[in-house]
């Protein structure tokens, strides 16, 4: 009887220990699955303002969404557009930028005019192509980056409100961007036009130059594809190694991969107009590419950069410490964001003629 009690006690102790251990194991294992993120210390090597975006930013509510119908997409797009409208209104007021919606060559555009245009940059223009995975930011809601660029560079910025899927898949977006670019060429010399945009906007910046090159249209002075979506397929090292490190995109396997397939609409994802990393970039204008050490698109960025270097294109790379995808445009009060736009400004000014 005594030995029975003893073994029962041992068993109980063992069970309790095992249970506690199992709970710890589960907690560890589920840390990633729970909210999509691996846990790392916040880098002390960035400004306090940026640190806030590394710790306190909640993940996008749709980071792991898998919309199946146009209505399901629309719901997400509307949800995001609402947030963007508020952000843009605040930015416009704070940075004293005027916005006007017009049409160029039949395509809706927003023109952003800073309070004071740099006198030396009169007669020059920056063409902006917004991001959002080819599906987000309709109706001119994707202009936050364009507003900051106008303010920090004191240049005119024209942002393309291109058509998007589900209704208008590839090549509608590229067609629209190309139409606007050709229209700008009627007012500006090619060497007075700079093109920039992030993520999908970076991919479209590259696709635009490829299209212009193919159709014999003069190329712009310079391009700044920020963290460009250069490979629409899940091909590239940091799609894997930075999954759960990047608190903006989190993973390819949520809405992002769905958006890639939605836009491609059956076209092979390695078509250079969809994935410019497979393009022949010979003769491209000078390029400035930007990414971050936690960016899911770091490989998209550096693969494109290496491609440029191999083709002899003057291409510069900037990788920001601790930044997830396109955090370099998160908020105009972040010193690193101000520095980023100053780098862009200097880059374009250096390359304009």
């Amino acid at each position: 009887m005594k030995s029975h009690i003893f073994s029962n006690n041992i068993l109980q102790l063992f069970l309790r220990g095992l249970l506690a251990f199992t709970i710890v194991c589960c907690w560890q294992l589920c840390a990633f699955a729970q909210d999509g993120m691996q846990q790392y210390p916040v880098p002390q090597t960035v400004s306090p303002q940026l640190q806030k975006f590394i710790t306190c930013t909640p993940l996008l509510p749709y980071w792991n969404a898998h919309p199946r119908t146009p209505a399901e997409w629309q719901k997400l797009v509307d949800q995001s557009a609402k947030v963007m409208r508020q952000k843009n209104a605040l930015l416009l007021a704070k940075l004293k930028v005027q916005v006007a919606t017009t049409k160029l060559n039949g395509v809706s555009v927003q023109t952003l005019i800073p309070e004071t245009v740099d006198p030396e940059q009169q007669g020059r223009v920056l063409l902006h192509i917004h991001g959002g995975g080819y599906v987000f930011h309709p109706d001119g809601t994707g202009i936050d980056e364009a507003i900051m660029m106008a303010a920090f560079s004191r240049m005119r910025v024209v942002s393309v409100d291109y058509r998007m899927p589900p209704k208008y898949p590839y090549p509608a977006a590229l067609d629209d961007v190309f139409l606007v670019y050709k229209e700008l060429l009627k007012t500006y010399t090619p060497k007075s036009i700079g093109v920039f945009g992030s993520s999908t906007g970076g991919g479209l910046t590259l696709a635009l130059v490829l299209r212009a090159k193919a159709e014999g249209v003069p190329l712009p002075a310079a391009i700044a594809p920020g963290s460009p979506w250069s490979d629409l397929a899940k091909i590239g090292d940091t799609y894997f190694t930075h999954a759960g490190q990047d608190n903006v995109l989190v993973t390819y396997d949520g809405w992002l991969g769905e958006a890639a397939r939605l836009y491609a609409n059956g076209h092979p994802l390695n078509d250079p107009y969809l994935s410019p990393v497979y393009a022949d970039v010979t003769g491209f204008p000078p390029a400035l590419l930007t990414s971050g050490t936690r960016d899911l698109f770091l490989s998209n960025t550096v693969r494109m950069h290496l491609k440029f270097l191999q083709a002899g294109v003057p291409a510069e790379l900037v990788v920001f410490e601790g930044m997830s995808h396109v955090l370099y445009q998160a908020d105009p009060d972040i010193p690193e964001v101000q520095f980023h736009f100053e780098l862009l400004r200097k880059f374009f000014v250096r390359n304009f003629q």
Copy 2:
């Protein structure tokens, strides 16, 4: 009695299930601890030759060593030197590079002479500072990078066999490098000298320029600190985010951190001569910095790059897809390695006068 058997069976089932689950949990949890590495797919976006170095390279046997005595350090250093001697002999023969050991200003150096020196680069020299965490590669065994540079650039390379701890901690290494640099200035104009090196060699390259600047000695034409150890403390995002991704360094918390403290020998790690990321780099010559998407020192590299940009120093950044720490010099048969040395060559030629 029946219910007793029943509950015993349930208990057994529960226990077995729990045990199996625990084993799975442990296996998952220990995956990192076992061999130090997280598991990721091998990127298909790099050459097959490079892929081999991402999958098949065994970790350094001492990646997690914590030597406590000079004798324990010596054992590791000897172990590594043996491997390096074999590698260097193969490289010298394969790439047809001649090596001569001499003294410059009392410091031992290896001079690497390629089969044919580029006639346009006569009268120019590249100063090489080897890596190895300030403790590895004594007696001229750290010349593998120098051999490849001589062969691919067809320039003369002088590699410094600087003194190292435990016997000679900071500032012995820097003193030696500086002595050699000053001696080269007697033969070469400053604008005919380029300085390069990786990891610790990158850190020492930066510290050398800082020292020259402080002492009013003319600066070299250009520098190429590859994946420089710019912060000797565990400060920087990718010390954390790339731990277990980088199959060369693996982690700061093994021999690497020990080596930092050994070299510093009580000096604060944020002394700019130890951690050049804290230096005033105004007036530095053009710099080319190189890293990889899995590099534990990606933050060391990009923080330094940003520091240069902020100070208005012309600094270029290259980040190689899929590469762990300094894999860009792993083997001369890797196309990416050849491309890397070609970038270095062009960079120096562009900046020589």
